[in-house]
């Protein structure tokens, strides 16, 4: 379990590392939408599979918050007439999400909760790194950059929340 969590975290790390120094706005749009969707999907599985009440509540909040972020992202790119463009990073995020789901589906009870939360910590750390190092610096449209700046603190809050739960599970 620990090894698979590390592997998944490692693939996230690779996806961030694989990011080109600069990405275009259509690529950023695809990365944002995929990053949120991956966490919504993990949240949906955890909402039904988690055994701890705190983990279940956290999963529900991830679904709500990331759905909200995705809605504002989609609204904005629609307004800007930007068509999200798949790229190596969005593809890696998608693959990483699928691997995470496949791994979580083999687990139950406390082991599931731990693996889900461990991955949430790694995921939010990596997405934050991507936001800071690649997405915000590369965004050329001011509204798109503003949206990234506005949603960034939510990822920080989610990370702190996930770490708090992670500590309580040990």
């Amino acid at each position: 379990m620990k090894v698979s969590a590390i592997v998944v975290a490692g693939s996230l790390l690779l996806s961030v590392g694989a990011m080109a120094q600069s990405v275009t706005d259509p690529q950023i749009a695809a990365i944002v939408v995929t990053a949120n969707q991956v966490d919504i999907d993990a949240g949906k599985l955890a909402k039904s599979m988690a055994s701890s009440g705190d983990v279940k509540k956290f999963a529900e909040q991830m679904i709500t918050d990331h759905t909200g972020v995705n809605k504002s992202a989609v609204d904005l790119v629609t307004k800007l007439k930007v068509t999200p463009e798949d790229n190596a990073t969005s593809q890696s995020l998608k693959d990483g999400g699928e691997k995470n789901l496949a791994n979580l589906k083999t687990l139950k009870g406390a082991a599931f909760d731990k693996a889900y939360i461990d991955h949430e910590v790694a995921y939010h750390e990596q997405v934050l790194a991507a936001i800071d190092k690649t997405l915000i610096p590369s965004a050329s449209n001011a509204d798109l950059k503003a949206l990234l700046v506005k949603v960034r603190p939510a990822f920080v809050a989610h990370l702190e929340h996930a770490k708090h739960i992670q500590a309580s599970l040990k």
Binding site: T64, V151, P153, A157, H161
Partner: protein, 121 residues
């Protein structure tokens, strides 16, 4: 004996009357001031997973309203239990009137990084 008595009664009455009048005027002024304060509503904007302003000074009897401009829900929850908005949905607001002086630390129960304070003077 009756003369000083009759003199003293109106004197006492006039003093009482003057005191009563002063109290009445003072009371009205106080009530008017309190009413003016009670009518003030302050706004705290919730955006970017933060409360702005993070510290707000208000007068006792003032109302504070929180407006959620983020794309997901938040709460305004006093750590001491004085108030709890419960979920404030997207583009919704919630308000509370605080009559008691004191410092009120509050958080968003959903996002542990969100901390702010109301100072009621």
């Amino acid at each position: 004996m009756t003369f000083p008595f009759t003199m003293r009664v109106p004197f006492r009455l006039s003093v009482c009357g003057a005191v009563a009048l002063l109290l009445l005027v003072g009371g009205m002024r106080g009530a008017a001031a309190a009413a003016a304060r009670a009518s003030r509503t302050h706004t705290v904007v919730i955006e970017g997973t933060a409360f702005t302003p993070a510290t707000l000074k208000i007068a006792a009897g003032d109302t504070v309203q929180w407006v959620n401009k983020d794309p997901f829900p938040h709460t305004a929850t006093a750590t001491g239990g004085a108030f709890d908005s419960k979920t404030i949905d997207v583009e919704k607001s919630w308000k509370v009137t605080l009559a008691k002086k004191g410092d009120y630390d509050y958080v968003c129960a959903l996002h542990p990084t969100m901390k702010a304070r109301l100072i009621v003077e």
